[in-house]
């Protein structure tokens, strides 16, 4: 177990998310990534009751499949974009960019910051369809053996969990079925057709142990949030959602890139195990205080490791915890109320932040979790990642 940081995240409740915005989520937007990023950001700014001129920072993350933050600032006509920063990163950064916005404001680099992720993830650059076929640097040890895609990477982790603890297809299937049920109440979701356990079990094997429905969607779309100080947040259009705490990191041997897990200590356990202490300490609460959890689900198995890593259930117990219905909307810990990356869409985990904010505002319509006051969001599935605790 990692030693908790000296002061973890020291800004409890001092910052807030005051606006959220999305585009349509589709398989073929017919639009530029730039226009998607601008639309989602403009919607988030309007939701906060602000104008583009009120924004002086923009933060995003990408795999060379987006547009830089300065392009969105330019497109929105923001006159003074100070903290306009891009992280070259994957889903691990989906909460980190919000924490980075907070850090920038605290440091005096900006006052009000838009955080966004925009991608043509299906019609443009398909992250799940294979990386570049180069075998240089870290990929020289993996790609020549036909080990190339992220589903192939995470399936290797999943097998290791199966060896260590046991995990049944029905337990993974319950994740897919639960999230699809949630998506049926979400007008934004790409997949709203009913999915039964029989459908899951009959779906074709992609990379054993993963079937088709263990793997998330590929999506064209964008979403954004606006972050500012709690003090400024009081006067805005929406009720603020406060950032209670957050953490980013991983364990030893995080690898030479986001795919590389050759030296990772234990593939039945991911980054979440290593940031748990910092996360809970920063917010001053524990796993039992969470009313709704939006957990990064690039694959069904990703949920298993994060439930255990963050102490939401015991080590080796996630399969049974899931199978007992605990992650369903009426269960002990409702997870991915929007349908997640598996059924709402893959906006690289940033859509989880939007859903958490809407749940805490009580704006989630027929999928609303009653009396949701504290939400968990997570981002990342392998050796490094981020998480936040939000409250209304």
């Amino acid at each position: 177990m990692a030693t908790a940081r000296r002061s973890a995240f020291a800004l409890r409740d001092k910052y807030a998310i005051v606006g959220v915005g999305t585009t349509d989520y589709s398989a073929n937007s017919g639009r530029t990534v730039r226009s998607l990023a601008i639309e989602a950001s403009a919607n988030a700014i309007a939701d906060a009751g602000l104008k583009p001129a009120d924004i002086d920072g923009l933060v995003s993350y990408n795999f060379n499949d987006s547009v830089p933050a300065i392009a969105v600032a330019t497109g929105l006509g923001i006159p003074d974009a100070g903290y306009a920063v891009d992280f070259l990163a994957g889903g691990n950064a989906a909460n980190l960019i919000v924490l980075s916005a907070v850090a920038a404001i605290e440091a005096g680099l900006a006052d009000t910051v838009v955080c966004y992720r925009a991608m043509n993830g299906r019609s443009g650059f398909r992250l799940g369809g294979g990386r570049e076929m180069a075998a240089a640097g870290p990929t020289q040890y993996t790609a020549p053996f036909g080990w190339i895609t992220y589903p192939q990477a995470m399936a290797m982790w999943c097998r290791r969990y199966m060896i260590k603890y046991g995990l049944t297809p029905e337990q993974l299937g319950e994740v897919a079925v639960t999230f699809r049920d949630n998506a049926r109440d979400n007008p934004r979701a790409m997949q709203r057709k009913p999915l039964t356990m029989a459908d899951y079990l009959a779906s074709r094997m992609i990379v054993d142990p993963f079937r088709l429905y263990d793997i998330c969607l590929e999506t064209d779309g964008a979403c954004a949030v606006v972050v500012t100080t709690a003090e400024r947040a009081r006067d805005m259009r929406q009720k603020p959602v406060y950032i209670m705490g957050g953490a980013y990191g991983g364990g030893p041997n995080q690898g030479d890139d986001l795919f590389d897990c050759i030296r990772w200590p234990d593939h039945a356990m991911n980054y979440s195990h290593y940031i748990a202490d910092d996360l809970w300490r920063s917010a001053g609460i524990g796993p039992k205080d969470i009313d709704v959890a939006e957990i990064y689900d690039c694959f069904t198995y990703s949920i298993v490791m994060q439930l255990e890593g963050l102490g939401l259930c015991g080590l080796g117990e996630a399969g049974a915890f899931i199978q007992d219905g605990n992650i369903r909307r009426g269960g002990k810990l409702p997870v991915n109320t929007h349908g997640g990356l598996l059924s709402e869409g893959y906006i690289h985990g940033f859509n989880h932040v939007v859903e958490a904010v809407e749940q805490l505002r009580g704006q989630s319509g027929s999928r609303q979790v009653a009396n949701a006051e504290i939400a968990l969001t997570t981002a990342g599935a392998m050796t490094c990642g981020s998480a936040m605790i939000l409250r209304k």
Binding site: M133, Q140, P144, Q152, R160, I163, V207, D208, R263
Partner: protein, 145 residues
Amino acid sequence: MSTEAATEAALAKPVPLPDADSAPFWHGCRQDKLMIQRCRSCRSFQFPPSSVCAQCGSDQIEWVQASGKGKVFSWIVVVHPVPKPVYAADVPYVVALVELDEGVRMPTNIVGCDSSAIVADMPVEVVFKRVSEELVLPLFQPAGA
């Protein structure tokens, strides 16, 4: 580039590009030797190779021939080929992380047995596959096969 050449390039499987850290590993494969690093200072074995020892920070690294024996740490069976034209003829194929007797892990393919016969900790041994003049890949098969 001609259309034929472009097609051929698109169908090519990834060919490793050796660098200053890895050249002795790939050179060793061409001589049917599985080479890994060992730190002269703390005696730790290391793979993938690096310019320094990740255990003690020493730059006194030497290359040694590994036993070529190990066990299956984890494995997957690729059923759906990606990219399709490149791997269509190969599926299903097995990618594994093998833990060598020296303690380091190495990605590889398991050959010489049906994928359904693979179990955790199954003993395996290296077998070198000559892909071309320049490229030899270290694959693993059940020990004593």
